[in-house]
């Protein structure tokens, strides 16, 4: 199965890259883009056919390695 892990800074943490991108978009005329948050995206190919197992494994590596819980949170999709 494949797990997709999306890691982003927590809402309470200032994201200077996202802010800079938002300002660039505003200067290009995209006034309706109110805010941008930048994050990281991981695709994990997992040797399992069980969705629950895949999700648990992805969560474990996200907790341990892919995200820093002090500043980041993550979301997982499996297929």
């Amino acid at each position: 199965m494949r797990a997709r892990v999306f890691v982003t800074l927590k809402p309470s943490v200032f994201d200077p890259q996202g802010r800079t991108i938002a300002e660039a978009l505003h200067s290009l005329g995209y006034k309706n883009v109110e805010d941008v948050r930048q994050g990281k995206y991981f695709e994990l190919d997992l040797a399992t056919t069980e969705a629950a197992t895949a999700r648990a494994l992805a969560a474990e590596v996200a907790d341990k390695v892919l995200a820093n819980p002090v500043i980041e949170s993550y979301r997982i999709e499996v297929e």
């Binding site: 800074l9 200032f14 200077p16 890259q17 800079t20 390695v65 820093n68 002090v70 500043i71």
Partner: protein, 243 residues
């Protein structure tokens, strides 16, 4: 006294730290390769600056899993003095040996310049020769030195007096214009609760000789020499924690 300088693939201030320990202060020094697990009887450990493992994923995130980090953690837990400089600080944060995390600098620029630091705490092995309130002029060089801790953690760190250095103006006054990276509460260095592990973004090893434009970094090394060799005025000498 023997300094152990941990070398990761991508470390680039290891030779500077080694040079300061051996040539400026006349101490023994050993490089400790990240794949080794032998601390070579070091009395004090330095995790130097650089870009360990390319800083892939996050700064310090990969280095935390290097084999040497097991013995480094055990050394720290025995009370041995550990100093993380710049990338070394980032590694100690990722390893959970110090509280908090690093974000990209406010302004997104890599900052390479001298900064002014106010000494907040002198009861750590790396600041005990300094005076509280003393202002040090030491260089920084980093893109991710924007120290962050969530509100509750920050409260605890401040209450425990774990903020060791803060960015200030040349007179030691807090001023956001003199905070080079946006660190919360202008934090430039923190210690653990036990106070034997210190992480700092500025580079004291680059400020130990007049030729390099300043000698204010010497006090960090002089402090740990004093801490390890005498009782000093702020408490008993640290237990020698070598293997």
């Amino acid at each position: 006294m023997r300094f152990g300088v941990v070398v990761f693939p991508g470390s680039n201030c290891d030779e500077d730290a080694y040079h300061a320990a051996r040539d400026v202060f006349g101490q023994d020094a050993e490089y400790l390769w990240h794949k080794d697990t032998d601390l070579k009887s070091a009395d004090v450990l330095i995790l130097p600056g650089g870009f360990a493992h390319g800083d892939y994923l996050r700064t310090g995130a990969m280095a935390r899993f290097s084999p040497i980090m097991g013995p480094v953690r055990a050394f720290a837990e025995r009370g041995g003095p550990v100093l993380g400089i710049c990338n070394g600080f980032q590694i100690l944060l990722e390893a959970g040996l110090l509280p908090g995390a690093m974000l990209r600098n406010r302004g997104l620029k890599y900052r390479c310049e001298h900064v002014h630091l106010r000494v907040e705490q002198t009861d750590t092995p790396f600041t005990r020769s300094a005076r509280a309130g003393q202002v040090l002029r030491i260089p920084i060089g980093h893109g991710e030195g924007n120290y962050f801790a969530p509100a509750e953690m920050l409260k605890t760190i401040e209450a425990n007096r774990q903020v060791v250095l803060r960015y200030t103006d040349p007179n030691g006054a807090l001023n956001d214009e003199w905070n080079p990276n946006g660190s919360v509460n202008a934090i430039a260095a923190v210690c653990n609760e036990r106070r034997n592990v210190v992480g700092m973004m500025p580079h004291p090893e680059r400020a130990c000789e007049p030729l390099l434009g300043g000698v204010d970094g010497r006090i960090i090394f002089e402090s740990v020499l004093k801490a390890m060799t005498s009782g000093g005025s702020t408490g008993p000498a640290l237990q020698l924690a070598g293997q």
